[in-house]
C-alpha cells in the first residue's frame, strides 16, 4: 500500500511516500523550488518521491493531508468575527488564497498531479503527534505537541501504544506557546517563522531580567496549562504579533538590522527561561497522567534544542524521540503514518534512525555535470586517500562544501549537504562568517561528533538520545575542552551537537574520525550548505553554484574534489543578492 503524505499552504511544504509502512522518500519543496520556506503545493517534492519509488501517481493508494482545511478556515473566520473590524487587513490579504487553493485540495491534486482517489485529512496536531510517535523506537510513549497553531489546537498531550495514538488534552488558539515565542521573535526585530532559532542563540548572552515582567503576558498553572493575556498581542487580528501594550511594558521593539543591545539579549534569555519553565511543568503533568517515561515531542516548539537538552534533568522522562522535521513540513510524515497505522489498522515496523530521505546523485551523474560544465576537478582513487586528503584540508582551516548521498529531511544539514570546517581554530567562526555565512556573530556553529565520543566532550545525558543525531539537543561543552574547540562553543559554554553513528553515514563518520586523528578532536564544524537567504543545496549544480558564489574553498561530492581557485571563470558574489 502506497500512501503519499502532503503538507502545504502555510509554511514549509513537504511530501513523503510510504510503502507498506516503510518510509521510501521525504523532502521539503524549498529544496527543489529554491524558495526558502516555500509553502506552495509541493509539486517537485511529490515528483521526487514517486520517482524514488519508481511509480507514477496511479500506483498511490491514498493521499494523506496534514490538516483539516475547513476546520482551520472555521478558526480563521472566528478570528475575523471576534475581532471585527480590526481584522480588516488580514482578511483582505488572506481570504483569496483560501478559495483559490486551501479549500480546494482535491481539485489541485487532480489538476496538478492527476490524483483522483480518496484523500484523508488528518488533524494538524494529530499529524504532528504521529510524525514523532509512529517513527520512534517506542512501543509506548507519552506524546507532546506544541506549535503556533493548527486548526484550533496549539498544544496537545497524548499517549501512543502500538498502533494506537490518542490525544488526551488540548489547549486551543489563541493561547499558544509557539505564538508567544514568535511574538518575542518579532519584538526583537527578527522574522517570525524563520528566525526563532536566533532568539535561542541570543538567549545565551543575556540574563533573564524580564522574566517576572513576562509572566504578566501569560497565566501558567502548575500543570503547565496556560492562557495568554491577549491585551499584549495582536496576532489574532493584525499584521503584527504584539500589541502597543507589549511595547509599553517592555519598551520599543527592536527595528530589524539595528544594533542588538543587552536589553534585547536579556529579553531573549527571559523568553527562553519562561518557555523552559512552562514546558517542564507540562512534561511533569504529562508524565503524571500517562506514567510512561518515554516522550515523543513534535511541533515547531520541539525544534528548540536548548530546551530539549534540559528535559531529562527537569522532568521524569528518561527517553525522548524527536523527528528531524518536527515542524509543519514534517506534518506530511505524520499524516501518512497515521493513515497507515491508525486508520487502516496496520502494524508498526519502521523507525526513523537517520534523516537521509531526499534525492541523491550517482557518480556518473556528477561526472557528467562536471565534464559538461567544463569544471576542473580531481577524483580521489580510494576512500583512504579521500579521508586523509580532506582531513588535511580541514586541519589547514579550508572550508569544505560536502555533498554526499541522500539529502537530509528537515531543516538541519546533517552531513549530506553540509559545510565542514575546523573547530579547533579560534578564528574559524570569523573565517566562516567572512567567507560564507555572513551571519550575526551571536549565532554559534554546531559541532558534529562521533556518537561514542560525545560524552567525552559534552556534558550530555548519560545515554545521548537519538534526537542528538538530528542536532536537536544542546548540551554544555565540558569546561576543560571549551577553549580547545572555541568555534563550536557558544558564549554560555554550550554546543548544539550532532552525534554521528557510522551506520547512518559511513563516509561522514569516517571523515570526523580522520580529522580526530589529525587534530586530537573527532569533531567538525557542521553548518548548512547554502547561500545566505537560500535553502540548503540539493543538486550538484546547486552545490557548485553555492561554492562559486561564496568563499567555500573546496567542494567534495562523492570522490570528486573541486577547488574554487581552479575555476575562476565561474566565480560570482552571492552577497550582492543575499537576503535573510
Amino acid at each position: 500500500m502506497y500512501i503519499l503524505g502532503i503538507s502545504c499552504f502555510y509554511h514549509d511544504s513537504g511530501a513523503c511516500l510510504i510503502k507498506d509502512g516503510q518510509l521510501v522518500a521525504a523532502a521539503l519543496e524549498e529544496r527543489f523550488s529554491r524558495k526558502k520556506h516555500d509553502f506552495s503545493f509541493p509539486h517537485a517534492a511529490i515528483a521526487f518521491c514517486l520517482e524514488e519509488a519508481g511509480i507514477d501517481i496511479s500506483a498511490v493508494d491514498h493521499v494523506a493531508f496534514y490538516e483539516k482545511p475547513v476546520l482551520k478556515f472555521d478558526r480563521i473566520l472566528s478570528q475575523h468575527l471576534e475581532m471585527f473590524p480590526r481584522s480588516f487587513l488580514p482578511f483582505f490579504l488572506a481570504l483569496p488564497s483560501w478559495f483559490n487553493e486551501k479549500l480546494r485540495l482535491r481539485h489541485i491534486l487532480r489538476k496538478k498531479i492527476g490524483y483522483r482517489k480518496n484523500v484523508l485529512y488528518i488533524p494538524h496536531h494529530l499529524s504532528h503527534a504521529a510524525s514523532a510517535f509512529y517513527v520512534s523506537p517506542f512501543e509506548e510513549a507519552a506524546v507532546l505537541t506544541l506549535d503556533g497553531a493548527g486548526e484550533w489546537q496549539t498544544s496537545t498531550l497524548g499517549i501512543g501504544r502500538g498502533q494506537q495514538l490518542q490525544q488526551l488534552a488540548e489547549i486551543n488558539f489563541p493561547h499558544s506557546l509557539g505564538l508567544l515565542y514568535s511574538a518575542v521573535t518579532a519584538y526583537l526585530g527578527f522574522k517570525v517563522n524563520n528566525d526563532e532559532y536566533k532568539v535561542m542563540g541570543l538567549a545565551g548572552y543575556g540574563k533573564p531580567r524580564y522574566l517576572e515582567k513576562l509572566r504578566k503576558v501569560i497565566d501558567v498553572k502548575d500543570d503547565g496549562s496556560f492562557a495568554l493575556n491577549l491585551e499584549y498581542f495582536s496576532f489574532h487580528y493584525g499584521m503584527r504579533m504584539f500589541s502597543k501594550k507589549f511595547e509599553e511594558e517592555f519598551g520599543p521593539a527592536r527595528k530589524p538590522e539595528t544594533e542588538i543591545s543587552q536589553d534585547h539579549q536579556d529579553m531573549a534569555a527571559s523568553m527562553q527561561v519562561l518557555l523552559e519553565e512552562i514546558i517542564f511543568k507540562i512534561c511533569r503533568h504529562l508524565y503524571e497522567i500517562t506514567k510512561v517515561d518515554k516522550l515523543c515531542f513534535a511541533g515547531g516548539v520541539a525544534l528548540n534544542s536548548l530546551l530539549n537538552g534540559k528535559l531529562f534533568k527537569h522532568t521524569p522522562f528518561k527517553e525522548i524521540y524527536i523527528q528531524p522535521e518536527a515542524g509543519d513540513g514534517g506534518g506530511c510524515l505524520g499524516a501518512a503514518f497515521y493513515a497507515y497505522h491508525a486508520v487502516f489498522d496496520q502494524p508498526r515496523s519502521f523507525v526513523m534512525e537517520h534523516a537521509y530521505w531526499g534525492p541523491q546523485y550517482t557518480r556518473a551523474e556528477m561526472k557528467q555535470f562536471l565534464d559538461d560544465s567544463g569544471i576542473k576537478y580531481k577524483e580521489y582513487a580510494d576512500e583512504n586517500s579521500l579521508l586523509a586528503g580532506v582531513a588535511k584540508l580541514i586541519k589547514d582551516s579550508f572550508v569544505i562544501g560536502w555533498l554526499q548521498g541522500r539529502m537530509e529531511w528537515g531543516p538541519r544539514a546533517l552531513g549530506a549537504r553540509s559545510i565542514l570546517s575546523n573547530p579547533t581554530n579560534p578564528k574559524m567562526q570569523e573565517i566562516l562568517n567572512v567567507k560564507v555565512k555572513h551571519r550575526e556573530p551571536f549565532r554559534p556553529f554546531a559541532p558534529a561528533v562521533t556518537a561514542e565520543k560525545a560524552n567525552e566532550y559534552f556534558q550530555g545525558d548519560e545515554v545521548v538520545p537519538m534526537p542528538a543525531d538530528f542536532m536537536l539537543m544542546v548540551y554544555p561543552v565540558r569546561p576543560d575542552h571549551r577553549d580547545k574547540i572555541p568555534a563550536v562553543t557558544h558564549v554560555d559554554g554550550t554546543g548544539r551537537l550532532q552525534t554521528v553513528r557510522r551506520k547512518q553515514n559511513p563516509r561522514y563518520y569516517d571523515m570526523i574520525k580522520a580529522f580526530g586523528e589529525l587534530s586530537g578532536y573527532p569533531i567538525l564544524i557542521n553548518t548548512s550548505f547554502n547561500i545566505r537567504g537560500e535553502p540548503i543545496v540539493c543538486t550538484p549544480r546547486d552545490a557548485y553554484r553555492c561554492m562559486m558564489g561564496t568563499g567555500i574553498d573546496y567542494l567534495l561530492m562523492d570522490k570528486f574534489l573541486i577547488a574554487r581557485a581552479d575555476n575562476p571563470n565561474d566565480m560570482w558574489d552571492s552577497e550582492q543578492y543575499a537576503h535573510d
Partner: protein, 81 residues
C-alpha cells in the same frame, strides 16, 4: 504582416490586463461586501448577544487543559472538517 501580428499581440496583452483589473476590482468589491456585510453583521449581532468566537476572556481557571474524551471516527478522516 509582422506589424499586424505585433499589434494583435499588444492588443491581446492589453485586453488581458484590463480583464485582470476588472476581476481584481470585482473581487475587491465582493470581499468588501463579505467583510462588512457578512462578517460585520454577524459579529455585531453576536457581540450584542454576548457570544464570543474566540476564547479571549481572562477568567482564571484551575487548569487550562481541556480534556479530549471523544476519539475520532474512522470516517471522519475523509472529511475536510
Amino acid at each position: 504582416m509582422g506589424m499586424v501580428k505585433e499589434f494583435l499581440k499588444s492588443l491581446r496583452e492589453g485586453m488581458k490586463q484590463f480583464a485582470d483589473m476588472v476581476a481584481d476590482s470585482v473581487n475587491l468589491l465582493l470581499l468588501l461586501a463579505v467583510y462588512f456585510v457578512g462578517i460585520g453583521l454577524v459579529s455585531i449581532v453576536a457581540k450584542l448577544s454576548g457570544k464570543h468566537f474566540l476564547d479571549i476572556g481572562r477568567q482564571s481557571r484551575q487548569s487550562y487543559w481541556q480534556k479530549i474524551e471523544k476519539r475520532p471516527e474512522r470516517n471522519s478522516f475523509y472529511r475536510m472538517f
